[in-house]
Each structure stands twice: as structure tokens, then as C-alpha cells.
Symmetry: C2
Subunit: 343 residues, 2 copies
């Protein structure tokens, strides 16, 4: 920031006061037409731009949203951010982003930095590790709009935009059962994250409904849902004497690992092993066979979260928005797929 031109410079030029310039520039009617036009003309010639820092100080606003996510470079997250950015940008807001790398302490640090930065709204998808949420209390008590998305706390501390993870887990699992699977494994995420617990609960409920006994041995949890962990788990499970005939995975990355692992072991998918993932990442249509998975409306989720912040005027009770998902059936579960819209 070098020596920019200010309203004082313009005021001096026209031998008027800064307040006149300020008003002229925003077409305030109390400024005479000639003066107004002359000032606007000159300002635009000189490339004047309001100093938003000064304006923000005066107005006590920042026009900025904060976003805290685990990693930006995950398909779901980057689409989420894309949705947030679109809405924010269309409404004159900036978006500042920080990554927790799934670490609790970074989440805390980032939350404080965002608060100090006086963001006018915060959108958060929790770190895998976090089990305490009091670093968000400052937003709530200061009435800064706060929206959790996707990886949300179980308690309703603030607005949430989510999907019905239980139902999705249930639908995915029932789909496998209806296709004849009787021994369905589950690769889940950290059970300290509500969404992964819910997906697992949905899975368990589907087993229960169909009279299948859950087997602790083939229900596994990973720290990160990364390929490495999923590879290790699937290669172990696929060597079991009683090998699973189905997998419900809490994300697509791990589902892809299962398929790749099965191929190495010459296990036919979907004939001998049916796999369902979660998210509908781009890889889902690339893997062979294409992955049956749960669609996850990332962009819309971001848009809705951003809109929630924009519309958050009165401090109403926390609101929970649940978006629809869909089971997208592809060849990793059946030979001739057909989409099933969730009721």
C-alpha cells in the first residue's frame, strides 16, 4: 500500500471539505449537482478507491467470512469452498480460509485468529481430532454467525448444514443387503466425529433390520480415511477365512482402495464383492468398476452455509438444515445399475 489518493486530497483540490467529497462520491442529494459531478469525475480520473480499512473501522464491519476446514485440497472440501466463495463474492464479502490439517490445536488457533480478524461469519467443518468446541464459544457469545457444515458437533451449538448420515449409511448398507450380501464390512472414520458414527449407526441398523449380526472384526475405523489406512485394512479383511462379500466405506477414497485391493487379489467386483463408497468424488466414475456411492451436495452445502450467514440477523435458535443425498448405483455393486432416489 503506497500513497493512495484520499478524499482529503480531492477535498483540497476542490477547496471543499472531506465530508462533501465523501457525500458527493455516494451521490448524496445534499451535495450540489455541479460539485457532485465534478468530484466524481475527478475521483474516477485519479483512480480513487475508498480505503475499505478506514471505512470498515468506521462502520465496525469487515465484510469478511471465515472458513475453517481440514484440508483445502480434498474434492469435497474444495467444492464446499467453491460454493461458499460464489455466494460470498456475489454479496460483496471476502472469504478467508484456513486449514486445520485435522489437528485440534490448529483448529483452536485458527478460530482465535478468525475471531481476532473480526470475521462477520464463520463456517466450520471440524477437524478429525476435535472433541472440544469451546473455542467457538466466543463467536456464539459475540453473536457472530457461526455455521457448522458436514463435520459438525453432535450438539446443536449453532446452525448446521448437514446430510442425514444415518439414513445414507442405512440406505447404502441395505442396498448391499438387497443385492445378497450377508457379510458386510465397514471402513469408517474417526468415531469422535459424529458424522462417521452416524454412518456406522445407519449401517448397523440396516444389518439389524435384516437380521444380520454385526461382526466387530469387520468394522474398522481409520484416523484419516486416507488410502494408506484403507489399503491396510482392506487387504487384511480380504484375506479373512470368512471374507466379506460387501463393503460400506465412509468415503470414496477408502472404497477405491477396497476395489483396487480386490483386483490385486483377483476378487471380482461386483460379482464376489460389492462396494459402496461415500461422497461421489470424481474418482468414483474413474475407478473400474465405477463406484456406487452416496452423493454429497458439496457446492450446495457451501452455498447454503454462506446464505445462512448472510441472512443471520436476529439471533434465532440454532437451525439445522439437512440436505438430500442420493444413492448413486454404479457397477461396483450391480452389473446394470439404476439410481435410487432416497425417500
Amino acid at each position: 500500500m503506497s500513497k493512495d489518493i484520499t478524499i482529503y486530497d480531492i477535498a483540497e483540490k476542490f477547496d471543499v471539505s472531506a465530508s462533501t467529497v465523501s457525500r458527493a462520491l455516494k451521490d448524496h442529494k445534499s451535495i450540489g449537482k455541479k460539485t457532485r459531478e465534478a468530484i466524481k469525475q475527478y475521483a474516477s480520473e485519479m483512480g480513487y478507491q475508498v480505503n475499505s480499512v478506514a471505512a470498515n473501522l468506521r462502520s465496525r464491519k469487515t465484510n469478511t467470512f471465515g472458513v475453517i476446514v481440514s484440508w483445502i485440497n480434498r474434492p469435497f472440501i474444495s467444492s464446499l469452498i467453491s460454493g461458499i466463495e460464489t455466494v460470498a463474492n456475489n454479496n460483496g464479502f471476502n472469504v478467508i480460509i484456513s486449514q486445520t490439517r485435522d489437528q485440534y490445536d490448529r483448529e483452536v488457533a485458527n478460530a482465535f485468529a478468525m475471531f481476532q480478524g473480526r470475521v462477520e461469519g464463520l463456517i466450520v467443518s471440524l477437524a478429525m481430532e476435535s472433541v472440544r468446541y469451546d473455542h467457538f464459544d466466543q463467536f456464539i457469545s459475540s453473536k457472530v454467525p457461526l455455521v457448522f457444515v458436514d463435520r459438525v458437533p453432535e450438539e446443536t451449538l449453532a446452525d448446521k448444514v448437514i446430510i442425514d448420515n444415518f439414513k445414507a449409511g442405512f440406505v447404502a448398507t441395505e442396498h448391499l443387503i438387497e443385492l445378497g450380501c450377508r457379510r458386510i464390512a465397514h471402513i469408517g472414520g474417526s468415531q469422535s466425529r459424529y458424522i462417521y458414527r452416524e454412518r456406522q449407526e445407519g449401517y448397523l441398523e440396516a444389518l439389524r433390520k435384516h437380521g444380520l449380526a454385526p461382526d466387530e472384526g469387520i468394522i474398522r475405523h481409520t484416523q484419516s480415511l486416507y488410502a494408506e489406512e484403507a489399503n491396510a485394512i482392506s487387504s487384511e479383511l480380504l484375506e479373512l477365512p470368512q471374507r466379506p462379500d460387501g463393503f460400506f466405506c465412509a468415503n470414496d477414497t477408502s472404497a477405491v482402495s477396497v476395489i483396487q485391493c480386490a483386483r490385486k487379489k483377483d476378487i471380482a467386483v461386483p460379482e464376489d464383492l460389492k462396494v459402496v463408497g461415500f461422497n461421489d468424488d470424481p474418482v468414483a466414475t474413474i475407478i473400474d468398476p465405477p463406484l456406487t456411492t452416496i452423493s454429497h451436495p458439496a457446492i450446495r452445502m457451501g452455498q447454503i452455509a454462506a446464505e445462512h450467514i448472510l441472512n443471520k440477523t436476529a439471533s434465532k435458535d440454532p437451525e439445522v438444515v439437512t440436505l438430500e443425498t442420493e444413492l448413486i448405483v454404479r457397477q461396483s455393486s450391480v452389473i446394470a445399475p439404476q439410481n435410487i432416489v432416497m425417500p
Copy 2:
């Protein structure tokens, strides 16, 4: 932003001046030890946080970087941003992001918004459409550090962090030639983007070096390098009487399209058709056969760009940093791959 506590509140409490509080809080030695400690103690109890807007106004700084990219939710871009964010965050800077959606007018609008927001540095990856760059002049003339990454203008208006696209295109194509391909098609990006022209030039140079005549009919350009366009092109080219025996694609998305299209037509990859992509997106290892491609150091590129901005003190001449890439050989080009490090 509600009624936060300010240094004036604290000053009143201790019956000192605001300047004393300000100095005490930053351990200025000219403030007596007792006063200093008492003030700091009280400030932290009250949860005082400096109003960075006010501090920024006074210091004429914003501690903010701007980033302008085409789409956040592309693997390369989101990794780039991840790298930028990491460096910025570690140095106390915020990152604000905007998407051009590959539209020139949005790029212009975003550039002006960033300038008005007084970012202290701007990192840009050009929109596919942009052919004029004068909306960046304001940054240059105001000496706001400006770094172009990846999709850069041909002229060196400002710092650039790039890869050697010509060399990469050359290496990729020569790889195909050495494997016996004699009729190599190219799916390129918009030729108004320098990087895609360079990739194509490298491709052409490899053909030339090996005495192969380029065939305009199998050199195609897409607007977006999206799957749809690439599908149409590859399905057309693979129906040609003189069908190509190799494809060099300017990104992985289109290379994947080629492979999928070939499979539909029962063309064996790599036996009857060898394919090389660009970027090493996650899908490269998921597609079957895994895709031979050019590694693209997205995260490092982002880090370096951010570091450049941090270190930009004197207004030196524009600097160009060229990062190394690597041809990553996988089964889409040879049965038994082996990596080739580019010299």
C-alpha cells in the same frame, strides 16, 4: 462485531492513557513494570484483542494476500491454494480467494476488488479466456507484489512461478515416440494460454526431432479441458481411418477421457494406444490402466509463490522461477513402467 473492549476501556479502568495501555500490551519498556503487568493481566482476563482493522488503518497494512484462480475445486488449484495458505498462515497473513470461473470479466472484477481490498500481495493463475492483462497494472504501478503461477502471461509483467511446459510436452511426446508411436494426437487447452501453447510446441518439437510430420487433423484444442469436450474429441479421433496410436493430453481429465473412450471401443491401452496426461491428478492412479503423466508440483508452487510475496521488499526486476517436473510412467503407456526424471 459487537461492543468489544478497547484500549480506552482498559485505560479508563486503570486511570491511565490509551497510549500507556497500547505500550503496556506490547511490553514497551517505557511503561513501568507494575502498570504493565496489571494492564496485561486485566486485558487477558477481559478477553481483549486488538482491533486489527484499526491497527491496519494506522499501519496502512492489511496482512492479507489475494489469490485469483479459475476454479477452486480442481485438484491442481486446490493443492496450489493449500500451499499458499500454509505459508501465509505461518507468517501471519490471511488469504482471500476468488474464482474467475475462467471468465475474463470476472478476472478483471476480482482484480479490482482485490486491489480495493488493499491486499499486500496477489497470486494469480489466469482465466482460460483472458488475453489482456492491464487489470493487473494497478498492482505493478502501486508496487503490490504480484506473482503469476502456472497459467501465466507470456510476457514477464511480474514474477512467475511455472514449470517448463515446453520441455514437459517434449518429454511426454518423445516418450510416446520412443515406445513406437508414429501417429500421436494432441488434446490441448486454449491456445490463448501460453502454457498450453508451450505444451503443444514441445509436442511439435518432439515430432520434428524424430522426423514425424504433424497432422493438423489430430491436434485439437478445447475451451476448458473438461471431460465432455475431451470425450467428443477422442471418440471422433478414435474412429478415424488412420487412428492415432498415441495421445498426449494437456491435462489428466482429458487423458482419462481418452482411456475411457478407448475402452468403450475395445482399443487396448497401452498395447494399441498409449496415453500421456498432464498434472498427476489423483485420478491418474485410479484409472485403469494407471495414467502416465507429468507431475505438477502444485503445493510447492503455491508455497513458493507465497514466499515470493513475503520476500518481495525491493522492487527488483521480475523473477521467473521454474520448478522441476517429472514424467511419471505408468501402464497407460508401457506395461512395465519405470520413472524418468527430467534432466
